[in-house]
Amino acid sequence: MAVHELTFPITDEQDILKLRAGDEVVVQGHIVGIRDRTQIRIFDEGVEPPMDLRGAFLLHTAPNVRKLGPGRYEKVCIGTTTSARMVRFTEPLGARYGVRAICGKGGFPDEAIEPMRAHGMAYLAIVGGAAALETTQIEEIEEVAWEELMPECLWKFRVKDFGPLTVGIDAHGNSLYHDVQARAHAKLEELYARL
């Protein structure tokens, strides 16, 4: 399984297309923090996001921060939340905004596979709960929009060696979550027979 270092936002689609489910990824550059309410505002309330999401890497997060001044925040503890709740936004994030990577914990159900294939996107799994480490990999909070949604704002972080991440779903229709569930369900039948 390959190890990749990627810098976001990406400009070359190959950066995503070369990833295969199970590969390891480490990220540099800029990533965008987003959560339930942020995406409800964009898609259900029809408010245009004040940040360019083309080629972006989105992180499912609601960071613990300390306010330094107007629009300026310092990190305290930044971790990642469960992704599955936000799966329905995958298609429009890819189709309308050109988002290329979504990072969270716990995986996406199968309904994410087709939009990710169609729009050249990948789901990158972080280690959930490993927030102390994640916080050290976020160098700075460079921008925040929609502060009234605190902490579910739209965040821009500069990161260094962010990871390790595992490609959970690639842009070719492969999902580790699908495969693990299929194998586990087959195994359950065998285990039940032994009970």
Binding site: P63, A131, P164, A184, L188
Partner: protein, 298 residues
């Protein structure tokens, strides 16, 4: 008597404030050992990557004095109150609540408490019926033990109840636990502790499942029949292949703990309460004179 009670209430509040933050930053040794064991047992590439990262994260939290995980959870306490402890449980509850609020404001910690309908924040990790306290009363004793278990939402959302029927037997219980952990997949941040409550009533089974996750890792139920069920479930769950973070692998759970209560002849309830790998827990013993002894391993 009045002065003693006031001083004791202050001690319990101090203990709660300390325990909440301490639990979030410094995980118990038995959990550290279980994570290192898991690291040694895991053979899949992605599973090893996850476990290596978890172990590294615990070290970073130590060095940076930061929280192990960002989710400060809901504060859940277990209070063992001695018959002769001179502070009434009504006041113990106040002290636990005030200590939780103080820790949240002073640190500061993220506050997660919201009204369940309006979803508006209700205060510094306190609110109506928050924090949650499990009570136990002990005869012929004058002490108080308090354990704080901050419970994250990712794992709490993976809670399941089934009213099996007596004809389903223990087999039905085992099937339901297996099915629950497979369905939860990567969402509760595996590998963690699977808490199982059996018997009693519907609500009590879930209460017992929560008590099961509060135990030190790998402790066994004193009833040999229940302990045997713990061993069997532990082995079976690790055959499901869900693996660390649900990416596939050998280690799906660090442990399975079962608590039980006798039940009605027509009932066979089984409840599953999942605790993530960040199975945070910290305890204190408070003496009659207000002295606090902290204990990370209880």
């Amino acid at each position: 008597m009045q002065q003693l009670a006031t001083d004791l209430q202050a001690s319990v509040e101090d203990a709660a404030a300390h325990l909440y933050v301490w639990a979030l930053k410094d995980i118990p040794q038995d959990l550290r050992d279980a994570l290192v064991d898991a690291q040694a047992r895991e053979t899949s590439v992605s599973g090893r990557r996850v476990l290596d990262t978890i172990v590294r994260n615990v070290d970073v939290a130590d060095d940076a004095h930061n929280l192990v995980c960002q989710d400060t959870g809901i504060a859940v306490y277990h209070a063992r109150v001695g018959e002769h402890f001179p502070l009434h449980p009504a006041r113990i509850y106040e002290a636990l609540r005030d200590g939780t609020a103080r820790a949240t404001l002073e640190h500061p910690l993220r506050s997660n408490a919201v009204h369940t309908i309006t979803r508006e924040n209700t205060g510094p990790n306190i609110g109506y019926r928050l924090p949650i306290v499990h009570w136990e009363f002990v005869a012929d004793w004058d002490g108080l033990d308090v354990k704080c278990v901050p419970k994250g939402s990712g794992s709490e959302n993976m809670s399941f109840l089934k009213m099996c029927v007596p004809a389903d037997g223990v087999r039905g219980i085992k099937q339901f636990v297996l099915e629950s952990v497979v369905d939860a997949g990567g969402k509760p941040c595996p590998p963690g502790i699977v808490g199982v409550g059996i018997g009693g009533s519907a609500d009590y089974a879930m209460h017992l499942a929560k008590e099961a996750i509060m135990r030190p890792i790998g402790t066994r139920n004193p009833d040999p029949l229940v302990a045997q069920l713990e061993d069997e479930l532990f082995a079976l769950l690790n055959e499901t292949g869900i693996g660390p973070m649900g990416l596939g692998g050998d280690v799906t759970v660090l442990q399975c703990h079962v608590e039980h209560a006798d039940t009605h002849m027509t009932l066979n309830p089984v409840a599953v309460n999942y605790q993530c790998w960040a199975a945070r827990r910290a305890s204190a013993h408070i003496s009659v004179d207000g002295t606090i002894d902290y204990d990370r391993e209880a």
